[in-house]
């Protein structure tokens, strides 16, 4: 850009290994997830390193782990 050679970009993302590990242990259970916006209460159907999937009345909500404040079984 601006005649300068482009520098290689290093992509980084934060990873909460213990949050991920704990969430993996409650897959298939009903949980409450307090996000930075709203709480979501439903079935934890999937956990990936950067997001989880909660189902409410079979509607999936994909939640970034970085936006989770706390999690509690319900």
């Amino acid at each position: 850009m601006n005649g300068q050679p482009q520098q290689a970009v290093q992509l980084r993302s934060a990873f909460d290994p213990y949050v991920y590990q704990t969430l993996m242990s409650v897959v298939g259970k009903n949980i409450v997830v307090q996000t930075t916006k709203n709480p979501i209460q439903g079935l934890l159907s999937k956990v990936t390193p950067d997001h989880i999937v909660i189902e409410i009345n079979r509607t999936p909500f994909f939640i970034r782990i970085q936006e989770i404040v706390w999690v509690s079984p319900s």
Binding site: V32, Q34, N38, P39, I40, Q41, I56, T59, F61, S74
Partner: protein
């Protein structure tokens, strides 16, 4: 007398997520000075108080029949607010503070006084007031007031639309913009009949078409804005035909009077909210209640 139909004017989308602050904003369209409780009560009292109903029947019929529609609008806005409240709290024991998120929402009454449902008040929590009703008894003055009220209501709807993109709120506002536009035109035509002054030339106020709003366009395309209903199935209020005639200046389509009510849609079901103790009837209590209700029928 009023006869009640257990239907909602339109089908409201009910997604599994809400927006409590959007619900607070939509309260303005219910219990604000320019909300549906104001249009309802203005036309209701004006119809009760109307002098020389027989001599001026088309005008009486207009105000009286639109009263019934406004009742349905109050019901529709209330149901929208109820659906918008979803997803702020969670179900848990009181010691786990299940209402903790309600502290940071605009309308605490919705969580404290009500179980996350509509209130007879505005977006700032002020109660709806009886002095929002204008019923001077002078026909032209009351009609001019109603014309102004509908234009003010339209402005509020457009602004709430700009505040939230929640699908339930937008479906409501898209529909109300079209029906509100119908009422603006109805009062403009009534004033023209009463005075000879053509107010339709200054419409729309504010000067953007309903079609600018995605959720209103569908209803405009269906011609929802061209119809006035009598809201009666016994042949009353028919003389609105003397006022509601000709074409719609915004679309050029013919204006139609239809007997009765629109078809309507189901009333949304609301889940229980154990953290609000609402309705507060558990399985055991329900079984006892069911037994008592079925006894000696």
């Amino acid at each position: 007398m009023f006869k009640r139909v257990n239907k909602l004017l339109i089908e409201l989308p009910a997604p599994e997520y809400g927006d409590a602050n959007a619900a607070a904003a939509v309260q303005e369209l219910l219990g604000g000075k320019f909300g549906e409780m104001s249009t309802l009560n203005n036309y209701m009292y004006q119809s009760f108080n109307f002098r020389q109903k027989n001599k001026l029947k088309p005008f009486y019929d207009l105000v009286a029949s639109i009263t019934a529609e406004e009742f349905g609008h109050v019901e529709l806005v209330s149901n929208t607010i109820n659906l918008l409240q979803k997803g702020t709290t969670f179900t848990a024991e009181p010691d786990l503070t299940p209402l903790q998120n309600a502290k940071n929402k605009r309308n605490t009454y919705a969580f404290l006084a009500n179980a996350q449902t509509s209130l007879a008040g505005d977006s700032m929590g002020n109660p709806w007031r009886g002095d929002y009703v204008f019923s001077s008894g002078n026909l032209v003055l009351d009609l001019m007031h109603n014309f102004f009220l509908e234009c003010g209501a339209r402005t509020h709807k457009m602004r709430v639309y700009e505040m939230t993109d929640h699908p339930t709120a937008r479906e409501l506002i898209g529909y109300l913009l079209v029906r509100g536009g119908t009422h603006v035109l109805a009062y403009a035509k009534a004033i023209e009949m009463a005075t000879g002054v053509d107010l339709t030339k200054m419409l729309p106020v504010p000067s953007l078409d309903n079609r600018v709003f995605d959720h209103a366009r569908k209803y405009e395309d269906q011609g929802v804005g061209n119809v006035l209903f009598t809201w009666n199935d016994a042949g009353d209020y028919q003389d609105i035909r003397a006022i509601w005639k000709g074409t719609n200046p915004s679309s050029g389509q013919p204006l139609v009077v239809q007997d009765g009510t629109p078809q309507g849609a189901p009333i949304p079901e609301l889940d229980d909210l154990p953290e609000e103790f609402a309705p507060g009837i558990g399985r055991d209590e329900y079984e006892q209640i069911a037994r008592r209700l079925m006894e000696k029928m």
